[in-house]
Symmetry: C2
Subunit: 405 residues, 2 copies
Amino acid sequence: MAVGLSTLPRLFPVPGIRLATTSAGIRKRNRKDLVIIECATNTRVAGVFTNNKLRAAPVVLAHRHLAGHSPRACIINTGFANAATGQKGLEDALACCQALAEQMHCQTEEILPFSTGVIGERLPVDRIINAIPDCLAKLDADGWKDAAHGIMTTDTVAKAFSVKTSINGKGLTITGIVKGSGMIRPDMATMLAFVATDAKLSAEVITSALQEVTRTSFNRITVDGDTSTNDACLLFATGQGELVIENDSEDSYQLFVKELGKVFLDLAQAIIRDAEGITKFITIRVTNGLSESDCLEVAYTVAHSPLVKTAFFASDPNWGRILAAVGRAPVKDIDIDSVSVYLDDVCIARSGAVADDYSEAAGKNVMSRDEITIRIDLGTGQSQATVWTSDLSHDYVTINAEYRT
Amino acid sequence: MAVGLSTLPRLFPVPGIRLATTSAGIRKRNRKDLVIIECATNTRVAGVFTNNKLRAAPVVLAHRHLAGHSPRACIINTGFANAATGQKGLEDALACCQALAEQMHCQTEEILPFSTGVIGERLPVDRIINAIPDCLAKLDADGWKDAAHGIMTTDTVAKAFSVKTSINGKGLTITGIVKGSGMIRPDMATMLAFVATDAKLSAEVITSALQEVTRTSFNRITVDGDTSTNDACLLFATGQGELVIENDSEDSYQLFVKELGKVFLDLAQAIIRDAEGITKFITIRVTNGLSESDCLEVAYTVAHSPLVKTAFFASDPNWGRILAAVGRAPVKDIDIDSVSVYLDDVCIARSGAVADDYSEAAGKNVMSRDEITIRIDLGTGQSQATVWTSDLSHDYVTINAEYRT
């Protein structure tokens, strides 16, 4: 059960973007498994891709196509990841791009392919190609909601976010969808995300804005430490709205990044809120470290500790496991005697040992909540970092033990 | 259920060592929870201790005592780890040492304390001190088996190993016990181990032999990546047998290390065979890497992957998860196109993609076994490394969600 996610919010259309979703029967029947996102000509697109050295065929191809061409559409399938499929996998992904390009009367290189699902099995290319005409017929500016459903794998709910606002008197719309629930570890953007805005952005601006907001959203979440082979995050700027940003020194740039950051952070947190088997949404905030990277190392060590994660699943304030994880974090200059740990507002450890004023009842009270912040004060510097993660439950094991059945 | 562990083997007494075990009611009634190991005067003792920066009070004290004195005894309790207990924890551990020293008519600094159990709670010192006389009365050269039971926490079976052999015509006995089942990650020797030999070893020899055998045994196992706060491994050389080794250039040194290594490897593997919730004993052998550390990084990344571990629990040859873990290992020079992966004798991936001759049936056949070797050939160098790990099951979650109840 997802934590703190209810029905989808209102999703504002982004002028220049149309989406379509259909059931191609890729791995299971009667399941929305194929999505096409079409963007108007002159849309500027930037992407970030997985850093896993095992890059899925569609990631290789999307990266290549994006480098040399202005995209006209994305074709996204679930069911199979088309990863670890070698040369044949590349040919399969290319065949899907070719088929869509023919019907859209554009070049193959103007199509970006994305896949998500089981690793190591071939794509059923015929089924995908056969479903393209039906899918294209459904293209609709209001297709965001269906597309959010169409890219789901082990996700239990569709995830999307949208803002409509203005910056310096210029209207601005940003809408995005995301999928991801397991194999989630930040090493770019561990999932598929498609975010569009009607702003007109220069190449410099779209690239730096995407990097800036990814760093503190998708690159700050983890479910299980497993980086996917198929991660990708695409940002489309159609330029059909009022806002125009030419370079990142304009004052509207920071305001735009703030709005874009809201969308990215909501989408990133939505992945954790729908993490496989989640019962608790956990924010880990490490403060007063010597560097941001030290803080991140500590935060991820705690976030990946199976012992910490199972204690949260049990609502057991077994805080010693948190402190033990801090103690093994690969950071040279931790002085455990300077470390304090809080669960929400309850100080559980001070100077590396149990706090004098800590009571088990106070700890239990916090642990009964659905959303909990672990704050770790390293007491040695002025840097900080925040990551978000989930607990480790029986359902996580069940979901991942039965994934291919 | 432990994998491949049956009843304890015959445990040969080591002249100069006596052990006693009793129930002190430390955390639960009627449970063997206090062990004393006495060694004869002139026994040489070497130890390795956890690298977790959160060192439990007994570890701090044992390390300090060992540095300046020849130990006469160890006092080991389960139930509480006496970790993250600050100055009071040190006083508690010292009080236990003092009480035992008084009754043994030796100095407090000649006692080494060890604790294992829940982190962050105080030791019930009175109960421990009250139980010392009864425990001392039981000291027995044949006390190894009881002691193996007395140091267990979440362990499901007692773990011990013993060899009686001769080197260059000189008789040699080595006997050891170990506890550990969860919070197991190699950063020295993630558990408690006490191994004794009747050989007479110089200070140089006992130290280098201990380091040499620890490196390829206790430092090559992982259950959950969580390094304990209380790890310690002690090696006693009583010198009451026939074998004498003065320096590590003697040819008997390598033969001795080989025998000692057998005991350490058996004990280390026994921890994994009894890992929390284990259903499969997994050997991960990484070959043909550029360096041993590269091979180890790859092996641990695979060993810690929750997705790999749950696939093994499900007996699902979802080998894509193995390759995806290799792809995200923190090693610069991996060329995924050179990587091959084998499950036992079945080649599942070659050149970074599914092997042409792989069949799901062959994969399923291997995965149905209790003991499986994952061999990862990096194809770039000549180094190798092996680690041992367990799968991730519902029982692991249950055990760690209910640990303090």
